[in-house]
Amino acid sequence: MLLAQVIVGGLLLGAIYALFSAGLTLIWGMMNFINFAHGEFVMLGMYFALLTVLWVHGGPAVFTLAAALLLFLAGVVVYFALVRHVLRGPMLAQILSTFGLALLLRYTAFWIFSANVVSLPQTSLSGVVNLGGIFMPLPHLVAGLAAAALTLALHVLLTRTSIGSRLLAVAEDRRAAMLMGIRPDRMQAIAWGLAAGSAGLAGALMATAYPWSPSVGETFVLTAFVVVTLGGFGSVLGAMLAGLIIGIIQALSAFYLGAIYKDVVVYALFVALLWFRPQGLMGKA
């Protein structure tokens, strides 16, 4: 029974990781662009959710949608104000631009929200589900379902719709896409909006489970990079799978070996896997 609880806990944690990483892998897949500010997007999503609850008294449906929508807009703004310009620059400028953006967002948040740790007030998402003696916190459960839904939705969007085809076309060859009458700017702005929006959604859901402060992005973003790399660059399904695997490994090693060894186990396996399969679980070589 205890083992079952450990594994379920790991899966739910993995779902949170997957949810967190979906937007990161999208930008990576669409634009070969590393967004170091992804953790800060999630952090903003958490604060937007909090403000929605405090000011509008919205329930979970309201604050998750509000955070997703606001971050979608933020993503589009970031694309036009920053990313579009540095795309023409050298690789290093691209990397450092989002790094700078991350610091800007983090310290602006410190300025506005102060460094205090905050939590979302009790919501209808605060309960626990007891399934025959196995406990599942509702926020984690919903986050897991949302991660699965989001992963599926992004997958369908990219592979089954015309907008997805156009997004992929721009990713494949910007110039050729333009010759086909696709406006790359609009497509890439949408990609940024989707990525940031999914980060916002992730943030709003995570806010129901975790206390946080403006530096929360740092805590999760390293795991997110590992999830994305393990899953395969740009593979949304891969990120889902990788998130779950990492969650389970962390839970098992923390329980049987001790909490301080869980990261050693995860990263050792991660490095070992990259040795044999550098493209990740579901990436294309």
Binding site: S114, F135, E218, A259
Partner: protein
């Protein structure tokens, strides 16, 4: 951050001021008109909330010292304006943010000494940061007052320039064991305890000390769980506790992880008979609002008690509340108290000469009525540790902590076991 670089204009100004004072003989002595103290605290990063609270508390202490506050009774340096023995010189703080990073704390201490020419240093919350920053002060012969860090190894390295006003791990460990013994005498079943500690200097050294004290008192430690405070999930740790089922769990944790632990206890439906926090996270201003409805009856330690309306401590708390909108917490209170002890020594030294300040610190002898914390006094031994520091135990009732132990200081009844989320 202020830089005291000498340029032509400041040189001219100083010259003019010196000439003016010579000509008119207004200045009573050549004493400095400001005394600067460099403060290294985590103003951003994981422990930023505590760092910012400490900053507000120190600013309040400086306000109390620099301006006349006769309403605060015998509190050190409150009644008069400034430091009387230095011709009423004002205190000035220069803050530096080490972000919880020990090597940054070290660099900042160096910068404050060599570039800002501070007269004394103060800090640094995380024991790991105090550990590195104090070494710099020792090397440069500048007095360093450790405000609140509890790790044993900060003092006791043979340092001459490092002083610490707060009670330390061994004081706390002794208190916890006396508490366990007292509970057993009352017929409470405590067969074993568990220690859950974050794994930097602070958590490790406190847990080591408590474990040692428990061994000496024959209190079995069923389980010890070290973990990293920046963790995102503590389910495995809580399940380990559930498996061993100790009667008392002592958490030596910072803020976000403390909240996460209490929430996870609830999520996994495991309520130990009693949870005792070793201050820090449990005293963070954001802790109670986050867990009040699921953590009823959990305990914490504190040397700070707000006291009755009209008392000095009550007035200090009102001033702090007016400034920050929150009650003063124990950690920031211990900071303020250490700072008052430093200011007292600066005043008695009557000079900004580092050696004179150091000697004054070694001769510190503050009585309980001069203090804002529930210590028996402030007096430093040859390692620089305050030997008269002690602490109370408090319990969460509703949305505030009430002083419940020891009996002679208690203002409320101790409830055992804790209710948690079960009303």
């Amino acid at each position: 951050m202020t830089n005291h670089r000498v340029n032509r204009r400041s040189l001219l100004l100083t010259g003019a001021a010196a000439a003016a004072s010579l000509a008119t003989r207004v200045s009573p002595s050549l004493a400095a008109d400001t005394v600067t103290v460099g403060v290294v605290e985590p103003l951003t990063g994981n422990a930023a909330a505590a760092g910012q609270a400490a900053k507000a508390a120190l600013e309040l202490a400086v306000d109390i010292i620099n301006n006349p506050h006769p309403e605060l009774g015998n509190l050190t340096l409150a009644a008069m304006a400034g430091l009387p023995n230095l011709g009423g010189a004002k205190l000035k703080l220069i803050f530096a943010d080490h972000q919880g990073n020990p090597s940054l704390a070290q660099q900042l201490a160096l910068r404050l000494i060599t570039q800002d020419h501070v007269n004394a240093l103060f800090g640094a919350y995380q024991s790991s940061c105090s550990f590195t920053a104090t070494a710099v002060a020792e090397r440069h012969g500048i007095p360093f007052m450790v405000g609140e860090s509890a790790a044993a190894n900060i003092t006791g390295r043979g340092f001459k320039w490092v002083f610490r006003g707060t009670p330390i791990a061994s004081d706390y460990a002794r208190t916890y064991m006396r508490f366990v013994a007292d509970m057993k005498k009352r017929g409470v079943k405590i067969d074993s305890i568990a220690l859950v500690n974050e794994n930097t200097d602070y958590g490790t050294s406190v847990a080591d000390t408590v474990q040692e004290a428990a061994k000496k008192e024959n209190v079995p430690v069923a389980l010890r769980i070290p973990y990293s405070a920046s963790t995102t999930d503590v389910s495995a740790q809580v399940l380990q506790l559930k498996e061993k089922n100790p009667d008392l769990v002592i958490f030596i944790s910072y803020t976000a992880d403390s909240i996460l632990y209490i929430k996870t206890l609830r999520n996994l439906n495991y309520l130990p008979p009693m949870v005792l926090g070793d201050d820090s996270g449990f005293s963070d201003p954001s802790f109670i609002p986050a867990i009040a409805d699921i953590g009823q009856g959990l305990m914490n330690r504190s040397a700070w008690a707000i006291g009755k309306p009209g008392s000095t401590t009550y007035k200090i708390n009102e001033m702090y509340k007016a400034k920050t909108g929150r009650d003063l917490d124990d950690t920031s209170g211990r900071d303020m108290q250490s700072f008052f002890a430093l200011a007292d020594a600066l005043n008695r030294a009557g000079s900004t000469d580092p050696e004179k300040i150091r000697v004054a610190l070694t001769k510190t002898d503050l009585k309980p009525d001069q203090l804002m914390m529930g210590y028996e006094g402030v007096r430093f031994d040859q390692t620089g540790q305050n030997v008269l520091a002690s602490t109370y135990l408090i319990q969460l009732k509703g949305k505030t902590y009430e002083l419940v132990w020891p009996d002679n200081a208690a203002t409320a009844k101790l409830d055992w076991p804790m209710k948690g989320w079960k009303q």
